[in-house]
């Protein structure tokens, strides 16, 4: 005889398999329905529940339990609708009746590959271990033998150079009457003096219009009012044509990547540009997903994005893993840098960005020989992305600290440490220590750093973390409106507030870097490669980075 209730539950999951479990308090809940309507995953839904109700009537307590049918909230166990832990339900609940909790023993990774489709997501590598950058301490403090500087009183010049610096012997100088002059006919590569923390490439498309606008406004304010020359990279996808022709273009690094998205608009805007861009970044790789090109999923390719990128709406925009024209670094890459330099009449620094890799020094040595290579950005494994295969995010890539250090020491070996600036990215500010991480990388040899995920978290309240919280950037359902193209979502984000926070962030980073450099006696130049200032309490790291061990 068949049982009344089928016990065959093949393919079904329990809540214990899911990464986040919703805690809902029936007593507090007023059944307003806001949580279910706001949930980006539809992970919770209204449900009919049988509840046990204890009542007592009359003058004496005589509790009686009854079961009654009522309405409530239920978390679904469909893996496609798993709770991502974003907690936007908690944010909208007027009564604190609901919140998600991380489930340490989840089996998410075993199930999130339904239909033969690998798990794709946004965010960055899910690792909560302390990164090397966070382990580094600033230990060479000027004490009684020499005076430390005063971060409040002395003038600090927290600036770096983006662009190819000539070799000292190649300076076109003329000596006349005991004075040096410049040979005006000689070519001097363009160099920009910028704040050493840049906003890394996040595309107009990956980010919502409000987020992008907020960042751009913040950057313009920092430059024009606060005198902090922060530059921002566009990522692949161009930028709004109106901005391309504006005087603000000088605060932006235009990125060209393997899909060349957005470059039709840029090329057409060239004759109308009032200003040169800060630089051109040629993206060859991304730390979060080495070997993959950019990916803007169809969910996000709506009207405006389709126009800027010159593509139809609602199609996946996958940039190829590599530039189609790339044959070798000596030829095609060099040609691309030369072509981009020519397009801007050699007035704009052009540099490549690669993902962290064991072969970074080989790339670097090639660039060092190319006079048009203005810099090299290396993006480590802890970098973020708007969309990538989870396996790439988790398992491929190179940590930035040792990769950067190896490259810097390689430049020292060939005597070109000042000629080809290195920019480090990937995990800068991962735990909120933006200035300290940046300062540590600078002392290891970086001329500057990029941050992206930190900016999203600090300026716009991005919910993503290293327990895979949220990370829905790829499907355009960002509950904060940061990475969505859906106006119903991105109107949740106030661009003015984002801009204000961007300004806060860089003012604080400026102050904190001064607080780090002052006791180490460095103010007039950035302490690039001042590795004697660093220590770490891990001997293996100390040895690998060629810094001192302290415990």
């Amino acid at each position: 005889m068949e049982s009344k209730t089928r016990l065959d539950v093949n393919g079904q999951l329990t809540l214990k398999e899911l990464p986040y479990i919703i805690h809902w308090d029936s007593d507090k809940c007023t059944r307003c329905g806001q949580c279910t309507s706001v949930c980006p995953q539809k992970a919770i839904e209204p449900a009919i529940l049988i509840q046990r109700l204890v009542t007592s009537e009359g003058p004496l307590p005589l509790p009686q339990a009854v079961r009654q049918v009522g309405q409530g909230i239920k978390q679904v166990t469909d893996i496609e609708r798993y709770c991502v832990g974003c907690a936007i339900c908690s944010q909208v609940c007027p009564n604190d009746a609901i919140f998600p909790e991380y489930n340490e023993s989840n089996k998410f990774a075993f199930h999130k590959n339904q239909g033969g489709t690998p798990y794709k997501r946004g965010g960055r590598r899910n690792s909560t271990e302390v990164s090397t950058l966070d382990k580094l301490k600033f230990t060479r403090i000027s004490m009684l033998t020499d005076p430390a500087l005063d971060a409040g009183r002395h003038e600090f010049h927290i600036r770096t150079l983006l662009g190819r610096n000539l070799a000292p012997g190649d300076m076109p100088l003329i000596i006349k009457d005991n004075e040096l002059g410049l040979d005006e006919t000689a070519f001097i590569p363009p160099v920009r003096e910028i704040f050493p923390i840049r906003i890394g490439g996040m595309s107009f498309g990956a980010l919502s219009p409000h987020m992008w606008e907020g960042l751009a406004m913040g950057v313009a304010y920092l430059n024009e009012v606060e005198n902090i020359p922060v530059v921002m990279c566009t990522g692949e996808g161009g930028m709004p044509p109106r901005l391309l022709k504006s005087r603000f273009l000088k605060y932006f690094i235009l990125q060209i990547a393997s899909g060349y998205f957005g470059w039709d608009e840029i090329i057409h805007a060239l004759p109308h540009m009032q200003e040169d861009p800060a630089a051109i970044e040629i993206k060859y790789g991304q730390g979060a997903k080495p070997g993959d090109g950019g990916l803007l999923m169809a969910f996000k390719v709506l009207d405006l994005i389709a126009k800027v990128r010159g593509v139809p709406m609602r199609v996946d925009l996958a940039s190829p893993p590599t530039h189609q024209t790339k044959y070798s670094i000596e030829e095609a890459v060099a040609k691309m840098m030369t072509s981009m330099s020519m397009a801007f009449d050699f007035r704009v620094p052009v540099y490549p960005k690669i993902s962290g890799t064991k072969t970074a020094t080989a790339v670097l040595n090639n660039l060092a020989r190319n006079p048009f290579a203005a810099a090299l950005t290396i993006d480590g494994e802890d970098g973020g992305t708007g969309a990538a295969y989870n396996v790439s995010l988790e398992k491929t890539g190179h940590p930035i600290a040792s990769n950067l250090r190896e490259c810097y020491l390689n430049l020292v070996k060939i005597g070109r440490q000042n000629e080809l600036p290195l920019f480090a990215a990937g995990g800068v500010g991962k735990t909120g220590s933006l200035a300290a991480n940046a300062a540590a990388l600078i002392m290891l040899g970086a001329s500057g750093v990029d941050c992206g995920k930190y900016i999203m978290q600090a300026a716009a309240g991005c919910l993503g973390d290293e327990r895979n919280r949220c990370n829905l950037c790829n499907i355009g359902r960002c509950p904060k409106g940061i990475t969505s193209q859906d106006p119903r979502l991105y109107r949740r984000l106030d661009p003015d507030k984002v801009a204000e926070r961007v300004v806060d962030i860089f003012k604080v980073a400026d102050s904190e870097m001064k607080k780090i450099f002052a006791p180490m006696g460095r103010s007039t130049q950035l302490p690039i490669g001042m590795s004697d200032g660093l220590s770490v309490s891990d001997k293996a790291i100390a040895e690998q980075l060629d810094i001192s061990y302290a415990c």
Binding site: L180, G521, T524
Partner: protein, 380 residues
């Protein structure tokens, strides 16, 4: 903080003058060492100006190795000076054979260009230094400070006055017209003779007080220039001498640009400079050579011009005073008082953060180059 004592004169004088000046500044050094560089020599070296002088210390075995090596290269001893240590009755013990020995060039190099001779002297100095293997291995068999015509270096651990007496400089002084002396304060490093100022390379000398916080990037920059003499760096101040050599000899900048290299102006401060375009470029291209102090550096250019320059915040003291014919460049005014008590003190110069004070070889006047205003003024 070490104390610095430099004197430039148009007549020969004894290094005891420098040492007595250091004695008045005694509160500033801890008696952990004295370094002396004498150039434009008089006395027994007066007639030997074109012959390179090897200065250093060696053991008996080191002396044999050194002699063999010099003979092999073709150098012939012309004159030998040794301090008269046997008359010394103090606490110091001789660590070996102290010498200043002038040589005739090998025949092939006698008529060679100054560049070739310079290369030969540097190469020989470094090879001899390597033969001694340095002090790291506990082997003091050969310590070489300088190998250059008309220039002697003496260094030893101890109180400066005691070291002066130890070398017998009070009884039979070496004479010179340009003498640099440093009274050492041993703060950050183990006592090592190679770490003791003044430093010398191919005709350039500097001594510096204070700590150089930008030492590591500067050392890495210099070490990677491909010039064999940019080695050592037992002291974070040695880079000041090599920077001077680099910009003067390799890049051929006029001397006043030393200030623009070690302490470049902020961009907004450059407007009064007629060479603004050049110094903007220098600032970018030589960015790793920027110091942050706290440092006062005193140096001698290859042409014998003596100078004093401060870090960009003027975090260290420095005073210059004198009369035409004799000037003292000291860490403190009391040192100047000892050397030139009869001067007009109102004409003393205290170089500030934009200044580079220079006194040419004839010791006639002090010229002050103001980096910010791009102007040169004269005090005499």
């Amino acid at each position: 903080m070490c104390r610095l004592s430099a004197i430039i004169s148009d007549s020969y004088f004894s290094p005891m003058e420098n040492i007595m000046a250091l004695e008045t500044m005694k509160e500033g050094h801890d008696g952990s060492g004295l370094g002396l560089v004498l150039r434009d020599l008089g006395g027994e070296f007066q007639g030997l100006k074109e012959f390179p002088i090897l200065s250093g210390i060696s053991s008996k075995e080191g002396l044999r190795v050194m002699d063999e090596y010099m003979v092999k290269l073709g150098f012939k001893t012309k004159h030998l000076w040794n301090p008269r240590i046997k008359n010394y009755s103090g606490k110091m013990k001789a660590r070996g054979f102290y010498f200043a020995r002038s040589y005739e060039y090998p025949e092939w190099a006698e008529e060679a260009s100054p560049e070739t001779q310079s290369e030969l002297l540097t190469k020989t100095r470094l090879e001899l230094r390597d033969l001694g293997k340095g002090q790291d291995q506990g082997d003091d068999s050969i310590i070489i400070y300088s190998f250059w015509p008309d220039l002697i270096t003496l260094k030893e651990v101890g109180d400066p006055l005691d070291v002066g007496l130890f070398f017998g400089l009070d009884k039979k002084p070496l004479l010179a017209k340009n003498i640099f002396a440093q009274g050492r304060q041993n703060t950050n490093y183990a006592i090592n003779l190679y770490a003791c100022h003044p430093f010398f390379i191919e005709g350039f000398t500097t001594m510096t007080n204070g700590e150089n916080t930008a030492f590591v990037p500067i050392r890495e920059f210099l070490s990677s220039r491909g010039f064999p003499g940019y080695v050592g760096y037992r002291s974070d101040s040695e880079v000041f001498c090599h920077i001077l050599h680099y910009i003067r000899k390799e890049l051929k900048f006029p001397l006043k640009y030393y200030k623009d290299v070690i302490t470049p102006l902020f961009d907004r401060e450059m407007d009064k400079r007629s060479d603004k375009a050049a110094i903007e470029l220098i600032k970018r291209v030589l960015r790793p050579l920027t110091i942050d102090g706290p440092n006062c550096t005193i140096g001698t250019d290859i042409d014998g011009t003596v100078f004093m320059a401060q870090d960009s915040k003027k975090l260290r003291p420095g005073a210059i005073g004198g009369v035409p014919g004799k000037y003292a460049l000291m860490s403190e005014v009391c040192g100047v008082d000892t050397v030139v008590p009869e001067r007009d003190r109102s004409k003393d110069v205290f170089p500030m953060k934009y200044d580079m004070a220079m006194i040419e070889k004839d010791a006639k006047e002090i010229k002050i180059w103001n980096q910010k205003h791009g102007s040169m003024s004269t005090v005499n």
